[in-house]
């Protein structure tokens, strides 16, 4: 199989264009929220967030949480004793105020955000790296509360706000593939032209 410049260029262009198309059409996450167990006074809880370099977004420290209802006697009686238990009743939405310190560390260890404030508040963060962003939330208030965090991106985003590194790679592939393809085609044309010219000279002689 002859993998010359033309074919290699064509393959790179194909991969680059498909990646570009994918980046253009795949929806980016708009928002996400999570909470875990309550944080004691003065304690710090660390969240991990794997993100692509999606550009400017907002990290929020929230002030509302949902609490699962307690199981009733009927729920306990109906439970088989194995696996999960069905709990009747609606979840309880609880709102509270807490004073929280938020520290955001990038995958390369750079502190991007170090603020304090009363919940709810959000801070803008420019996500320029791919990897784990660590969110440290410290409970500076006066009661033990769960501290949910969220991440939001602007709803109207162009390609540049999508995974920037993949976008960069797809551009590189497309551009280098196009260059290789052109070089390959030019070389083929030149070689053919040379052969024809040499033949006519030989014919003349």
């Amino acid at each position: 199989m002859r993998l010359n410049a033309t074919r290699l260029g064509l393959i790179l262009v194909i991969i680059g264009v498909i990646m570009l198309f994918n980046l253009w059409t795949v929806p980016v996450i708009q928002s996400y929220k999570a909470q875990f167990e309550p944080v004691d006074l003065g304690e710090t809880f660390a969240y991990g967030l794997f993100l692509a370099p999606l550009g400017l977004g907002n990290i929020g420290v929230e002030s509302d949480t949902v609490v699962a209802p307690k199981p009733s006697q009927d729920d306990i009686d109906n439970w088989s004793g194995e696996g999960s238990m069905y709990v009747s009743g609606d979840v309880i939405r609880v709102e509270y105020e807490a004073f929280v310190r938020l520290v955001v560390v990038s995958p390369s260890g750079v502190t991007l955000v170090d603020t304090e404030g009363a919940t709810p508040y959000s801070v803008p963060v420019d996500f320029t790296e791919r990897g784990e962003y660590v969110l440290y939330v410290t409970n500076l208030g006066n009661e033990t509360v769960p501290i949910p965090v969220s991440i939001k991106f602007p709803p109207e985003t162009g390609v540049v706000y999508r995974e920037a590194d993949k976008f960069f790679v797809s551009i590189i592939l497309t551009a280098s593939g196009t260059v290789l393809l052109c070089i390959g085609l030019a070389t083929t044309l030149l070689t053919k032209h040379k052969k024809t010219t040499n033949k006519s000279v030989a014919d003349v002689i």
């Binding site: 991969i15 498909i18 999570a34 991990g48 790679v169």
Partner: protein, 277 residues
């Protein structure tokens, strides 16, 4: 001497099979399918659990990518294998080559692996590339996990190729062989699209045995190799074959499928196959 002869013939066969635009079409098909299957983690997790979840995400991406790649590699393998044998038979090239002092064993292996090996390599490269693009913060993890797909794709492609050869040697005409091979392999691949867990929950009887089909079994084998533990399996289906059988059972099953198809074809070709029309 015969090794060098085999290599020379392999190089020529690869050049013929993967000439323009076959390689380009294959890359395009695989790239389209692969891209859709790699998603970064979108959940916020406990920092202490991050590494485990990250590893699970990489494993999940590799598994999802291979599952997506399976259809393109089945299509290409069945078409190219049928073309390789049936078209060469019909055109007289098989007759010409077998009239030289090359053993039928060598000839069969060269033609077979000229289709299978590049597909295995291409699948692995594309999987590593696209999963690595998302998880390049841990390149060695991606490389290590993507290696697990090599035996899985190899066995799956061997089966697929064996079926293509069987059809080609029986039908001996190019277009009918290609269509029949494609249909047969597609039909065998189809069970992989069935949501086994849901089918089991709904009490569909045969769902328990879907994991024993060649391609579905390959995907289950890959998941077990990667160490993916299915979550949230209800008790009533926890004893299904897919969840209880170890990875080694699936390995034996896949090797068995390859043996019952490829070995008889190989023996038939070297001992009984006649060129006549």
């Amino acid at each position: 001497m015969s090794f060098r002869v085999g290599l020379a013939l392999l190089k020529t066969e690869i050049g013929k099979v993967w000439g323009r635009p076959i390689l380009e079409i294959t890359v395009a098909l695989m790239a389209v399918m692969t891209l859709m299957s790699v998603q970064p983690i979108t959940e916020i997790v406990r920092h202490s659990e991050f590494l485990d979840i990250f590893r699970s995400a990489v494993m999940g991406s590799v598994s999802a990518t291979v599952a997506s790649l399976m259809l393109p590699w089945i299509i290409m393998c069945s078409v190219l294998m049928a073309l390789s044998f049936a078209r060469d038979y019909e055109s007289g090239l098989m007759q010409s080559i077998l009239s030289t002092p090359i053993s039928r064993k060598m000839f069969f292996m060269v033609k077979f692996f000229a289709v299978v090996l590049p597909l295995v390599l291409l699948s692995w490269v594309l999987t590593t590339f696209f999963v690595g693009l998302t998880f390049y913060s841990s390149p060695w993890l991606v490389l290590q996990l993507s290696f697990y797909m090599l035996p899985v794709s190899f066995l799956s492609l061997m089966f697929c190729g064996g079926l293509g050869v069987l059809v080609a040697l029986v039908v001996r005409r190019t277009i009918p062989a290609v269509l029949t091979s494609l249909l047969a392999n597609f039909f065998i691949w189809y069970p992989t699209t069935i949501d086994t867990k849901r089918a089991l929950m709904e009490g569909v009887g045969y769902a328990n045995y879907l994991c024993l089909t060649p391609h579905d079994g390959a995907l289950v084998f890959l998941d077990k190799l990667l160490g993916i533990v299915p979550k949230g399996i209800p008790l009533e289906i926890a004893d299904a074959l897919e969840y209880t059988l170890p990875a080694s059972s699936f390995a034996v099953l896949l090797v068995f499928y390859v043996c019952i198809l490829v070995i008889p074809m190989f023996v038939y070709f070297i001992r009984r196959f006649e060129i006549c029309d």
